[in-house]
């Protein structure tokens, strides 16, 4: 058992087994009415407001939120957790985009569809490289988080925990497609939010604001410093990172396509508003470290360790449930959305353009399985800390903000300019990551991308007809029952 484990492995296994069976059964039960390709990939395009809001929240509340928010609070103090909470701006700004996407592309399947139809094949391939790299990186980050957290909480070996969480998510996504993902997200959201609130209330009750503030002031006053330059840079960087991640990622586009007409705007707006405080509630737990006097061997373990110290074995089950739910809710979404991208844009778009819906539906399951297997292989070695991996990808995703947003609203965006914006934004953002620090990668990337899109559109505008954005519907043999 590891030094930080707060549950014995036997109890850990019992909870893991119960939840694994529960999620897989629920995934099958919810997905049993999905018929045809659209039923499997997009839940029949009829998801309502409650499920839509919950899935947007659950997907954005990842294990990275529950682990990286305390980690960033421990490294950057108040600005660390406030900066992380600005990730919600992406959700809020995506609300009008979701409405426009649904209106302009009623038969769209992926974010790749949009880039291909709007800017052509070169931009599409650049975008796919960025999007798939990011999606896969996030998937690996979540798989690693699963192994680390299960190990930290129960002592179950990293590789075993990581394998179980990946296998469970692959299983229920395979069985029920997006219906299973969205349905389980609703229950997972309720569990996560309730658990986080209980933890916060217990921490406030046991430590108190005064004691926490005095201990931090005495031992690590820089964490309470409001003029912490690196942290303020991080705040803006994280804001842009969140916007870039949401604007480009098929996780959010597939939901925009899957929601009922009129639901997308409200769902993303409500989810964004309620997500904003989550990293603050999860993150402030790290500020109790000086008051508790605990030794944190690895920054990304600070959340579970504080929870263990505060709650002991009695509350450990709660922590485990919250983290397991957060992991599953994001992993399943990512699996489904990335497999949609691989299926539609790689398999159908490049390898088998004449594939029938039946063949695509069968291939979708193989893609999910293959992605799960690849993620498992990459998770075997523990590559880097979670925040590092997460922010490395910031340079990639922030470069897509302007090509996506401008492409949805401006008729005259230059396609070559949009492609160059993604390439040069990524290259210079990565340079900033290595030369300056992780907290400026997205900032530099977004600024470069914006300058290129604006300049090329001003210099050589290219008119575009919005009607060209709606791809031909893939003919269905069945519809959702």
């Amino acid at each position: 058992m590891t030094q930080t484990a707060i549950l014995d492995p036997g109890t850990g296994w019992l909870i893991l087994a119960l939840f694994s069976i529960g999620w897989v059964w629920l995934g099958w039960w919810l997905g049993r009415r999905a018929r045809g390709l659209e039923g499997f990939m997009l839940a029949g395009r009829k998801v309502g407001l409650a499920l839509g809001t919950a899935t947007a929240m659950a997907t954005w509340v990842t294990s990275n939120t529950t682990m990286a928010a305390p980690q960033l609070a421990l490294q950057m103090g108040v600005w660390g957790m406030v900066g992380y909470s600005l990730g919600s701006v992406g959700l809020i700004l995506f609300a009008p985009l979701a409405r426009r996407i649904r209106r302009l592309m009623p038969h769209g399947f992926t974010s790749g569809d949009f880039i291909r139809l709007r800017y052509g094949n070169t931009a599409w391939r650049v975008f796919l490289a960025i999007s798939l790299f990011y999606g896969f990186g996030w998937l690996v980050s979540l798989g690693m988080a699963g192994g680390v957290l299960i190990n930290a909480l129960t002592g179950i070996e990293y590789h075993v925990g990581m394998t179980v969480i990946l296998a469970v998510c692959v299983a229920y996504t395979l069985l029920g497609g997006l219906r299973a993902v969205i349905g389980t997200d609703f229950i997972q959201t309720l569990l996560i939010l309730t658990g986080i609130v209980v933890l916060a209330v217990l921490a406030l009750d046991k430590i108190g604001i005064e004691r926490m503030h005095s201990a931090v002031l005495a031992e690590r006053p820089q964490l309470l410093q409001l003029l912490f330059p690196a942290a303020i840079m991080f705040l803006f960087n994280n804001l842009l990172f969140g916007i870039g991640e949401i604007f480009h990622s098929n996780v959010w586009w597939s939901r925009a396509f899957a929601f009922r007409e009129g639901v997308g705007f409200k769902a993303y707006l409500i989810a964004g508003l309620f997500w904003t405080p989550v990293p603050i509630v999860a993150g402030f737990l790290a500020l109790t470290v000086p008051a508790l006097g605990i030794n944190v061997p690895s920054a990304d373990m600070v959340g579970p360790m504080v929870a263990a110290e505060l709650l002991g074995a009695g509350g450990a089950v709660l922590v485990f449930v919250v983290i397991f739910s957060a992991l599953a809710s994001s992993l399943d979404s990512l699996l489904a959305a990335t497999s949609d991208l691989v299926l539609t844009d790689i398999y159908k778009g490049h390898l088998r353009p004449d594939a029938s819906p039946e063949q695509l539906e069968k291939a979708a399951r193989w893609v999910i399985l293959g992605l799960g297997l690849m993620a498992w292989l990459f998770c075997l070695p523990r590559l880097t800390t979670l925040a590092e991996l997460l922010y490395f990808t910031g340079a990639f995703v922030a470069s897509t903000i302007w090509p996506v947003a401008a492409g949805l609203y401006w008729r005259r965006v230059n396609p070559a300019g949009a492609t160059s914006a993604m390439v040069l934004g990524t290259v210079l953002g990565l340079s900033a990551y290595f030369l300056i620090g992780f907290y400026v990668a997205a900032l530099v990337s977004a600024a470069v991308s914006m300058a290129i899109v604006l300049l090329t559109t001003w210099w050589a505008p290219r008119p575009f007809e919005w009607t060209q954005l709606d791809p031909q519907p893939i003919k269905q043999r069945d519809t959702l029952s």
Partner: protein
């Protein structure tokens, strides 16, 4: 410039109350969608 104990407390308590409200809102929306036949 250091954040005061009161400001930190206000930030944390406000955030906690908002997060506590979210599940209630979701359940209300779920009931409304279910009754209107608009869940899926």
């Amino acid at each position: 410039m250091i954040i005061t104990s009161n400001m930190l407390g206000a930030l944390i308590v406000t955030a906690t109350v908002l997060v506590a409200l979210a599940p209630v809102v979701l359940i209300v929306l779920w009931i409304r969608d279910r009754m209107g036949g608009k869940l899926w």
